[in-house]
């Protein structure tokens, strides 16, 4: 019986392993290996240059450090402020005020439609000529505050940040689900002991959902580390590189036919991801078994 199963087990694992090899394992090896090469097509170049790509990234490339900084700042904003926004809403909704279900579903909508659609919507909202934001400023007599939001160096970074920062429906849904699954008798007991609603939130509920908040922080970090489409569609990383992040810079480097250099950026993305995840795990004690 055991003997015969081995074949079946191999057969059941094969498709997953093949796709894993093709899309994750081989590319992962290629990213690390070719980051040490001057690797281009047209004219075909494949020359070992050691860590030169990395040296160039950190010491000569005027674009790279600002791009790295943008990426890190965005990850931090998303992990802290975005998650806080979603969590505050979840803490309001778990007490089931009037209309809580409506708010939960509505706030989730921007997270369900595609990023590219959201980006297109904001491209128009921010439009200097007919956008809703400038129209609103005009209507309330604040014309002097009008900007070409996405294309003005002073406003581009915060304007792009807003396109994802305010949509924390995912976080709300997850934290809320965790809040609602806690035993109500714990809350009741705290109430009988005379705890105020704020004390219950802070001292009872928060510790119970802390790990879930940790999970949403990890998701937020991953989301920002992979962010590409919304920047690509709205500003394309400009003006200059003021709204570019690592994936966008990697993409433009690939398009510039500089594969080895692009893959050294890929290595940096993987390392930034690894450091971020380790930090978050430490902070939220995610590795501990309960």
């Amino acid at each position: 019986m055991k003997q015969r199963n081995t074949g079946w087990i191999a057969l059941f694992l094969a498709p997953t392993c093949i796709i894993f090899l093709l899309i994750f394992a081989i590319p992962l090896v290629m990213v690390f290996a070719t980051s040490l090469f001057d690797y281009r097509l047209l004219p075909r170049t494949f020359e070992f240059i050691g860590f030169s790509n990395f040296v160039k990234l950190f010491t000569q490339d005027a674009k790279f450090l600002p791009v790295l900084k943008n990426t890190v700042v965005w990850i931090a904003i998303h992990c802290v402020l975005h998650v806080a926004l979603g969590t505050i809403l979840a803490f309001i909704l778990y007490k089931k005020p009037h209309g809580w279900k409506f708010v939960r579903v509505t706030y989730m909508i921007p997270n369900i439609i595609s990023q590219s659609a959201i980006a297109m919507i904001f491209l128009n909202l921010y439009n200097a000529q007919y956008g809703a934001l400038n129209s609103l400023l005009k209507a309330i007599g604040l014309e002097h505050l009008q900007h070409n939001w996405l294309f003005d160096t002073a406003t581009a970074f915060p304007a792009v940040t807003m396109t994802w920062f305010i949509f924390a429906g995912y976080t709300t849904t997850l934290v809320l689900a965790q809040c609602l699954s806690t035993d109500e008798s714990i809350i009741e007991a705290a109430k009988i002991d005379g705890a105020t609603s704020f004390q219950i939130d802070r001292l009872v509920m928060f510790p119970l959902v802390k790990r879930m908040i940790g999970t949403t922080v990890i998701m937020a970090a991953t989301y920002m580390l992979q962010m590409f489409s919304m920047i690509y569609i709205t500003t394309g990383g400009g003006p200059g590189v003021s709204t570019a992040n690592l994936p966008l810079y990697l993409y433009t480097t690939v398009k510039a036919n500089n594969y080895g250099y692009a893959n050294s950026i890929g290595v940096v993305i993987i390392i930034v991801g690894f450091i971020t995840m380790t930090l978050i795990n430490r902070l939220f004690g995610m590795n501990k078994e309960d």
């Binding site: 590319p27 005020p97 579903v105 909508i109 595609s114 007919y130 890929g266 690894f274």
Partner: protein, 281 residues
Amino acid sequence: MTHFKLSPKQKAARVFSYLFMALCVLVALFPIVWVVLSSFKTNREILSNGLQLPSTFSFSGYKQALEMAPILKFFVNSLIVSFASTALNVLILAMAGYVFAKKKFRFKNLIFGILSLSMVIPSTALMSPVYTVITKLHLYDTKMALILVYTALSMPISLMILRSAFAAIPTELEEAAYIDGAGFFRTFWQVMMPCAKGGLASAAVLAFLESWNEFTFALLLTSSTSTRTLPLSLSYFTSQFSFNYTAMFAAITIAVLPSIIVFSIFQEQVCSSLTAGSVKG
């Protein structure tokens, strides 16, 4: 609601709660409502005042959008790619998840550990080599390329959801099927799969959302209208519709409305899938 008198502090908290909720609803709905309303305005109305309501409800923008760009073609491409990759993803990861949950074999933990790596690698870092692999397989600019990549992108989350779905099924059930003479495959397909329905649904919902909305790899791996998907078609509108704002707003509406409708119908399922994905992931 309550029989007690509220202290001023509690009243303030309540006012804050409702204000905060109202603000969140406004933030979520205003951009979409603005786009939908603008799609009914004429070009002149859009340019003269961005906040004015449309004077008449004309669908001419929609007609123009459908004539100017192959939106329906993109839509069908998205449907094919999303359904195919979701089906493939759920099927092969159910097989793998079942084996990891219920079978003992050599190198099990090692193989699982390696597969779990896919969870911690940011996929954007792999853009360039994935492009190379797809080109080498002669799949560049084909739907198959996207189906393959999307199956992989949803792999980590599906593996976690499905492994725990199968682990939760009592082993006695499996043994009973064996004793009744069912083979390996029949036990999996006719006994275990129906029991894992909840997990399968969760994994499918997440995989479908991922494929339906994915942009980066679609941009990287396709170039022609016969393969491009709906999220890409939108960025293409910026140049196509440079001077026809009505049609552009109509196009955005066409792109977002199906997702919103489907979500409104299945929101309970979607939300519980998201929760399942996060707990297991």
